[in-house]
Amino acid sequence: MTAVTMVEAIRDALAEEMARDPTVVVLGEDVGRKGGVFKATEGLLERFGPLRVLDTPVAEVGIAGVAIGAAMMGLRPVAEFQFADYLHPAYDQIVNQAATMRWRSVGTWGVPAVFRAPFGAVAGGGIYHSQSPEAAYCHVPGLKVVAPAIPSDAKGLLKSAVRDDDPVVFFEHKRNYRTVREDVGDDLVPIGVARIDRPGRDLTLVTYGGGVHLAREAAATLAGEGLDVEIVDLRTLAPFDREAVARSVQRTGRLLVLHEANTTMGFGAEVAAFAAEQLFTDLDAPIRRLGAADSHPSYNAVEQAATLPGADALTRALRSLAAF
């Protein structure tokens, strides 16, 4: 095994699934000749040809809709959206069509398609290259929503998503693409199962995507202060692994949910509601949520830093939670 980045792991997952199953296709803008704006589909055109690696016009409704129709007729399409910010035009297709197809046709038609979208903020992306819209998709029955944080999960979950008979929205944090390297095998990672990223005794920190790396930073800092943080990487947001959250909170009695999306109506609200309803007697402190301010991601670095949750804010929040 060689150590690969997350974007390389995603590319490997696509190549392996396309080699294994001739019905797997990739479509989207720039996925062919350019190999994707983040190079997640690099080399696929040369290997699998222009029919199975379909460069499309800039047409998100069309990309999503074509993927849905093709999925109904026997393909397993992986549609790439260049940024999660541009999933919005396709929201109607994903929510009104893909998510409802099986239910509304009493099981006649399914949509085994994957909608891949890079999400989250990196330096200078601005409002249209930085958004984290995952919670909106988690609100929709009929969809599965995945957000891996590390290369092995990205690969294993993407392979599972391709093989899944239902539509999967697959969020990839852009900052994770090239910042972490890891030895990655061929294992599938099941959808709906969380991973303990770091075991700990004192606090439960539930997060996903880019949040996992921020959590690691904070946990390392707090370890020096004698505070042992358990990081639960959800990996899948819909359905999310309630049991894993429960097991951890039952041991630590303290819960903080972290995500980069703004806090109001964010995914943390669902985790917090679950804990409040089901784990009330296990909690020794109020549930905390940490997310971005209810603002928009700015191109300006000062404004961006002022709105996104950072390591300092996270360590402060964890300290105060521990001290409660």
Binding site: L75, M101, S105
Partner: protein, 322 residues
């Protein structure tokens, strides 16, 4: 000129469509069926275009007005009434969707969506799948003039044309998007847009059985032989309001009368009689029998069971169907 047997078959299907449509309105007015979406005036355009398909091989992407397309492809009146009455046994949506929202794997009919134009890119996806899988099937997509304004329609047509996919777009233009007349929907005919995508586009009288059938066969064949997509615009009269929940007060009496004068069923029937394919007495008797049969199917559907409440979340995900 269509041969006599095809003319007669078309008339029977168009007449059946009318009979089912009329019964649906009765059920709606009785408070038994909900929302009824009507095909009235579209019958000949629907039946004759649907006859161009290889049923079960070509995929069909309908909109909610396509009662005649469904019946031509093999949907039965009983199934339609089960759906309209929201019965558990409706094979298309189990009574979950509104009237005439067909879906059939066997007939290769994609699930109809109330959201206009949402299915147009699905048809293109089906054509793409056929290409990848090496099938010689064609995807045929019907939609109304209202749907022609949606962005999804543009994106779908453009992608189809760029990749020369085996898909046929059929716009049933009845002149109204509910109340908004064609003049306020578009400044040029729908078919003119085809040139902008680089595919052929034709406007036809959708009450002319020969013209519709010949054109549909030609464009389906064109798609099947690898020459790419086409757009047909079939102009049809809207004989009744948009739906059972609409009224026609926004139309003038003259406009309604002009539409009634273009009733495609009257025209097709006159042709059968003129050409000696059938006589009036025989057609009257046949139509009467058809109406009786349709009514019997509706009555049968009325007695069918409703779904159990526990079923409401079934078929949400794969594996939920057991």
């Amino acid at each position: 000129m269509l041969p006599a047997d095809l003319l007669l078959r078309s008339y029977r299907l168009a007449s059946l469509t009318r009979a089912v449509d009329e019964r649906l309105w009765v059920l709606s007015r009785q408070g038994r069926a909900g929302f009824v979406l009507t095909a009235r005036g579209h019958e000949v355009a629907q039946v004759l275009s649907a006859l161009a398909l290889r049923v079960g091989s070509d995929s069909a992407w309908l909109y909610y007005r396509d009662l005649g397309v469904g019946l031509t492809l093999g949907v039965t009146p009983y199934e339609i009434f089960l759906g309209a009455l929201a019965k558990a046994g409706d094979p298309h949506s189990g009574g979950r969707q509104l009237t005439a929202h067909f879906s059939s794997r066997e007939l290769r009919i994609g699930s109809v969506s109330s959201a206009v134009a949402a299915h147009v890119p699905h048809a293109v996806g089906a054509a793409y799948a056929a290409r990848v899988l090496g099938e010689d099937s064609v995807a045929v997509c019907w939609f109304g003039d209202g749907a022609s304004s949606e962005g999804a329609t543009h994106e779908a047509m453009n992608i189809a044309a760029v990749h020369r996919l085996p898909v046929v777009f059929i716009c049933e233009n009845n002149g109204y998007a509910i109340s908004v007349p064609e003049s306020m929907q578009m400044a040029a005919p729908v078919s003119k847009r085809a040139a902008g995508y680089g595919m052929p586009g034709t406007t036809l009288d959708g009450t002319d059985a020969d013209a519709v059938y010949d054109a549909a066969v030609a464009v389906v064949e064109r798609a099947r032989t690898g020459h790419g997509p086409s757009l047909l615009e079939l102009c049809v009269p809207r004989l009744v309001p948009h739906s059972s929940q609409d009224d026609d007060r926004y139309r003038s009496d003259a406009d309604r009368a002009a539409a009634a004068a273009r009733d495609p069923l009257t025209r097709l029937r006159a042709r059968l009689v003129d050409e000696g394919v059938a006589d009036t007495v025989a057609l009257d008797a046949e139509d009467e029998m058809l109406r009786e049969q349709v009514r019997a199917q509706a009555d049968r559907a009325l007695a069918a069971p409703d779904p159990e409440p526990a079923r409401a979340r079934r078929w949400m995900y794969a594996g939920d169907d057991r």
